[in-house]
């Protein structure tokens, strides 16, 4: 009895959607790892530093969850949209950095930022609609856009301008079916942090175009450079904003799956246009974050002390500086911007400096094989022949990794260039 006789078939959309998956690309890169290499693998490719002891969450957070669990009061279902206490405390937390107060009604708790992306895109789905995503970007957006039958158009981030949004390019993409644009700030994968002025320009552009802004702020507060973190929500009176956030990055607990959607819309435009109702309906079909983790949120947001945040930032700064310093001296890397936030930077491969390597996937595959170092090829993020480097690991491991990358690049250097370097010494 073969498959042909049975009437079920798989959902074809999933095939298309999954082309946009960092995990899949990394699995392919990892296949090249040499099992006989006795050295530890240096993962500069992930988005999850929690496995490194220098990136451990605060005891406050762990205690808060244990307390909630042991109380035995939070084993039941939470209300759809999140428990009131969680929503209220997230509203208060976000309001600290806004010129107006959010209420609990403006906040929805989600199963990590991933579900926040899922909900927000499902809400925008209508026949023929298109959405604007940054390039390079975060492929989960593309994947959910496909599942929701939304057309995707990409605007560029301009490396030569510190990865700012190409606003002219963006405007030229907009038509009467465009519904929203996404910005990721602090930036994944570029490590940039937008200035207040630039965020305002984005808001003004969105307003002119009549579209809403989805501000992915998963890396909020994780800045260590000159630009401070400014929430897009402060311009919510210019263009309505849906801010996505999570405990995952700032508290180093991506496995806890606690995120949120916040409506920054003091003029009530979302309510007027049925978006609020749709968010509620989308949440009705969706599953949610564990009730006792939601119950721990107020304690976590209110009681985490600054020294925990400062420690994380200091480690990230040390890593970011080290990464930048090493990479800038390696000839095959160009267009390197000093990272200002998040866990990543993007760097371009100069193939004229390399021999026998022709694209980003080949570079990363050979690097994995020869040096047991993992980088993410940029094509999956929309920038072929760039690579994303995650610097957020133990500093000593990072140093080891960077040394191996340098050694790899020298070994594969274009012999002409090598000769030139020798002459300079």
């Amino acid at each position: 009895m073969g498959m042909k006789e049975w009437k079920f078939r798989g959902n074809r959309d999933l095939k298309t959607a999954s082309a946009f998956s960092i995990k899949r690309v990394l699995d392919d890169v990892k296949r090249n790892l040499d099992q006989s290499d006795g050295r530890p693998i240096i993962p500069l490719s992930h988005g999850d530093p929690s496995s490194f002891s220098c990136f451990r969450t605060t005891q406050v957070a762990e205690d808060a969850v244990v307390d909630a669990l042991r109380s035995a009061k939070f084993n039941g279902y939470a209300p759809k949209g999140g428990s009131l206490q969680a929503r209220r405390s997230i509203a208060e937390y976000l309001s600290r950095n806004l010129p107006y107060k959010l209420s609990s009604e403006d906040v929805y708790v989600t199963l990590g930022a991933k579900q926040a992306i899922e909900v927000v895109l499902s809400v925008l789905s209508r026949p023929g609609a298109n959405v604007l995503f940054p390039r390079p970007g975060y492929p989960a957006y593309e994947a959910h856009a496909v599942l929701n039958h939304l057309e995707v158009r990409h605007f560029d981030l301009l490396q030569e301008k510190g990865w700012e949004v190409d606003l002219n390019g963006l405007e030229s993409l907009v038509d009467d079916k465009t519904v929203a644009m996404v910005i990721i700030n602090p930036g994944n994968p570029c490590g940039n942090v937008f200035t207040c002025d630039h965020l305002q320009k984005i808001a003004e552009t969105a307003r002119r175009m009549g579209i809403l802004v989805i501000a992915d702020e998963a890396y909020a507060h994780l800045t260590f450079g000159t630009n401070p973190y400014v929430p897009m929500g402060i311009f919510g009176n210019i263009a309505p904003v849906l801010t996505l956030g999570t405990l995952s990055k700032r508290w180093l607990v991506p496995g806890w799956r606690l995120g949120w959607i916040a409506r920054n819309d003091p003029d009530g435009i979302f309510e007027e246009h049925g978006v609020v109702e749709c968010i509620k309906r989308s949440l009705n079909t969706n599953t949610e974050a564990a009730t006792f983790i939601q119950a721990a949120v107020p304690q976590i947001l209110e009681n985490t002390t600054d020294d925990f945040f400062v420690k994380t930032i200091n480690t990230l700064r040390e890593d970011a500086d080290m990464c930048y310093e090493w990479l800038k001296d390696i000839p095959c890397f160009t267009c390197l911007e000093k990272p200002q936030g998040s866990l990543f930077l993007m760097v371009k491969l100069d193939f004229s400096q390399l021999q026998g390597i022709n694209d980003d996937m080949e570079f990363c595959s050979k690097l994995a094989k020869e040096e047991s170092v993992l980088l993410l090829p940029g094509f999956v993020l929309g920038l072929k022949n760039w690579v994303r480097v995650t610097f957020a690991i133990e500093p000593s491991a990072l140093e080891d990794g960077l040394a191996r990358i340098k050694s790899f690049c020298m070994r594969h250097a274009n012999k002409q260039s090598n000769r030139d370097i020798c002459l300079l010494i």
């Binding site: 498959m3 999933l14 999954s18 451990r56 669990l69 039941g76 579900q115 969706n286 009730t291």
Partner: protein
């Protein structure tokens, strides 16, 4: 300016929580007697102190959290130890061994339902769903543009599936049939023979069975719980389950989607790839809760399970007994499992009540008791009563229901009636 997605208008904006929320809003804040609200509306007994989880489960989660090893992302299909533990747990009741690869960890059974519908969603596909049933199926299907067709469960026949209706509804676009056993909302536990007939019917129509076994093992009547996977070699079965009900922790959001398909009809390489891709895109449950599962499945004592079943049997008996004393309510089939029972409302015996919605709203207002109108689960003029409650609360609630019914009943001709207030 853009508008949100308005494609799901009717009837798929009905949810149990939504209706219960509306009923709660209708409570009388000035209840003279200041009686407490008793809700028998939701399948969540944690509000009652007699229903607590085992400390084995709590300790396992605390251990996992304190280990500091599970704060990061898990593999998108779930932690390998969790998959293995669940495959072993389910295999105990099956004539074949499941592999850990058959098991996908989901955030509660709700997400398992989402997975099942998403993976089968193709243009023009339809899925057969029981009535009365569980509204999440209708909601998920609407979101994924899958047509839902309802077949009846037969109240006078132990709420068994109307297999003739299934035959009539299935066509070349039908891809699956959903079976909820032990049953929600009806409290039925199907016999082996009936499950076999369902499997044979599914096979005849070449469709898979989605076996919603969220209430798995919660059977306290004459029929034992038989997992649909027992017939997995006859017809591919997708088994959905979770810790929520048997361990009384619905808020933990730990469920599973399992391919109980020993002949590999459904789980061919292509479909498995698609399943993995789905999980890559959508997030799963908290890693440390996943990590606790092996300990929970291995070390929970039989005494804990027996205790829960004992309370459920007691309260279901209590419920049925009290219903017998209320003329406008009839219970055609005594519940054998799960946590709720469907009870028929005879509106003609009530003088100013129009239907089940009217009944439940007025009951909430006048007596501070919450029952679920049957329309929510697909049966107008029925009511779902969750008997998984503290016995004394259940007793008091049903006493108030009795008084309510009496007050709203037509007086018998020629008799002097004492109306209690």
């Amino acid at each position: 300016m853009e508008n949100g997605n308005m494609k799901m208008e009717t009837p798929t904006n009905v949810t149990i929580k939504g209706i219960l929320g509306m009923l709660m809003a209708n409570l009388d804040d000035d209840d003279e007697k200041k009686r407490r609200v008793i809700s028998l509306g939701m399948g969540d007994p944690t509000a009652f102190s007699c229903f607590t989880t085992t400390c084995v489960a709590e300790n396992a989660v605390v251990d996992a959290l304190n280990s500091q090893k599970f704060n990061g992302y898990s593999p998108t299909v779930g932690l390998p130890q969790t998959r293995r533990a669940i495959s072993e747990y389910l295999s105990i009741d099956l004539p074949y061994k499941l592999s850990p690869d058959d098991v996908y960890i989901t955030a509660g059974c709700t997400q398992a339902i989402e997975v099942a519908i998403s993976i089968l969603a193709t243009p023009n596909a339809n899925i057969l769903v029981p009535r009365p049933g569980f509204p999440i199926y209708d909601l998920c299907a609407a979101f994924r543009n899958v047509e839902i067709r309802h077949f009846d469960l037969l109240p006078d026949n132990g709420w068994e599936v109307d297999l003739d209706a299934v035959d009539a509804l299935a066509d070349e676009n039908t891809v699956a049939i959903v079976v909820i056993n032990p049953g929600n909302p009806c409290g039925n536990v199907y016999s082996y023979q009936h499950l076999k007939k369902i499997a044979e019917t599914a096979k005849k129509h070449k469709i898979v069975v989605i076996a919603d076994e969220v209430y798995g093992h919660l059977a306290f009547g004459p029929n034992p719980f038989v997992p649909m996977g027992v017939f997995g070699s006859m017809v591919p079965v997708l088994t959905l389950g979770s810790l929520s009900k048997r361990w009384i922790v619905p808020g933990w959001r730990l469920g599973w989607f399992v391919t109980t398909d020993p002949n590999g009809i459904f789980k061919n390489a292509k479909t498995v790839e698609r399943l993995k891709k789905y999980f890559d895109i959508c997030g799963g449950p908290a890693t440390f809760i996943q990590a606790a599962v092996p300990q929970i499945l291995k070390e929970t004592s039989d005494a804990f399970f027996a205790r829960t079943l004992g309370i459920l049997k007691h309260t279901s008996d209590l419920c049925v007994k009290k219903i017998e004393d209320i003329p406008c309510l009839t219970c055609p089939t005594k519940p054998q499992g799960s946590m709720a029972v469907m009870v028929k409302l005879n509106v003609s015996l009530l003088k100013d009540i129009n239907d089940d919605i009217d009944f439940c709203f007025k009951l909430a207002r006048e007596e501070s008791v919450i029952l679920l109108p049957g329309l929510t689960v697909g049966l107008k003029n029925w009511v779902r009563i969750t008997f998984a409650a503290e016995p004394s609360s259940l007793e008091e609630a049903l006493e108030r229901v009795k008084n309510f019914c009496h007050r709203h009943s037509y007086e018998p001709k020629g008799s002097f009636s004492l109306i209690q207030d």
